[in-house]
Symmetry: C2
Subunit: 257 residues, 2 copies
Amino acid sequence: MTAITTDALSASMENYLETIFLLVRDYTVARSKDIADRLKVKRSSVTGALQTLKERGLVNYEPYGYVTLTETGTAVASKVLRRHEALRDFFVNVLSIDPTEADEAACRMEHGISKNIVNRLLDFAEFVETCPRAGAKWIHGFGYHCQDHAQDADACERCITLCLRDVAQDKTKGMETNMAIPLSELKPGEKGQIEGMAGGGAVKRRIRDMGVTSGSLVEVVRVAPMGDPLDVKVKGYHLSLRREEAADIQVRKVTGH
Amino acid sequence: MTAITTDALSASMENYLETIFLLVRDYTVARSKDIADRLKVKRSSVTGALQTLKERGLVNYEPYGYVTLTETGTAVASKVLRRHEALRDFFVNVLSIDPTEADEAACRMEHGISKNIVNRLLDFAEFVETCPRAGAKWIHGFGYHCQDHAQDADACERCITLCLRDVAQDKTKGMETNMAIPLSELKPGEKGQIEGMAGGGAVKRRIRDMGVTSGSLVEVVRVAPMGDPLDVKVKGYHLSLRREEAADIQVRKVTGH
DNA sequence: CCCATAAGTTAGACGAAACTAACTTTTGGA
DNA sequence: TCCAAAAGTTAGTTTCGTCTAACTTATGGG
């Protein structure tokens, strides 16, 4: 009994897991009420879901107690979140979709996307921002393209003009001042392209294992109050680095949108 | 009674509609058995679904009879199919995903995507193929990028080399021979960028209403046995044109992948 | 033209996921 | 410290979409 089924989770259960993950991240424990509010369901539905998730060995839960995720639960939730963020970020950064709309659509689509496609989506967004042929500013062309609701011949003309202006600005600002700096120097929201990793050991291996190499894009998501640790995102994976570790990673700042 | 509810359709019902649409397109009528086979459900489930869809006024259906779509049903199914194709084509053409996998994922994701995002996705795919700054061949860079499983520094180098070779080839072939030709000259699978529309009248207006202007990409999907009519796709919409009408639309061929 | 088989239907059951209504437990402010 | 409100649970219901099993209808080859 309490046979932990190995069947795929339903979309609904994935959403519960994801919500709990986010609540635990922010408040260390999740309360039934908050899960219900976020998912716009009744409290009794949450109780039911928690029982199912407990049977599956994904949450730590006792009646009337707080909720946390088991190790397996955390692993599953992270995967769901990665899919969610890959979609949302693509919609926002590449397709210039309004963040709220992007997030809602990502939430509905995240359950049907495959691993392969997630990885390609992430790679593509990265490629768009860093490909040396088109350059990071190229994607701005699409932004301008979208802003022009009148999709006439002029729009395209204007797109080119604005693209060229962006490139010119980069030149004026002096692109050559864009030296490699330690990852620890980046502020939250900033992105950098990995130039190299000094030192070695566990962190370097952990990063390597995710398919991250020189040229990959890293984003500093947030920095804890004391400036340590840093929450960074590479290839869609969230990663917590000590400032000291981050200092060993050389990056070249990429100016996003 | 038989109150035609206005509630949104469930993902499941959308799939039934889409399947019926495709069967009707290919065989003029849909049979229960074929619907069941395509959706991998039992025949009895199809009967149930047909009853629901009939109540909603979306299908023409009598017990033991063939199934067709009502006008409303056709309209809804077309929208679903447009979402499906927008996703699938993006996965295949832009992300270089295997067609089968792309199709399956599109089928699962098509129910959660919003109108806005579909349009952006279509615009983006078009932008990638036609933006004068990066050029149609730019996307090849990503293809090469993906082929290189070893994601090392060399991969990027090779991507540039291959991109440049493509561009050089275009030059050699003589890009200037790419004159504007009538849309009716394109073969199935070929794409062209609209240069202008001669004549006027209903077709021109119908096309205009879809947000299609000079510069938009048209794809000839298939041509009926007698060469008339042509099934073309613009902005994700399928459109049936008489050869005569297509002859009035001038396009510049775009060499895809 | 007849009947075996394929196609379609009906009835009934089931599981998932939500709900309402009534309950129990927890908690924090007077 | 006590008790009212908030949070959580339980029981029972509903809806949806599937299934199986048993049936009815349609159809085409001998």
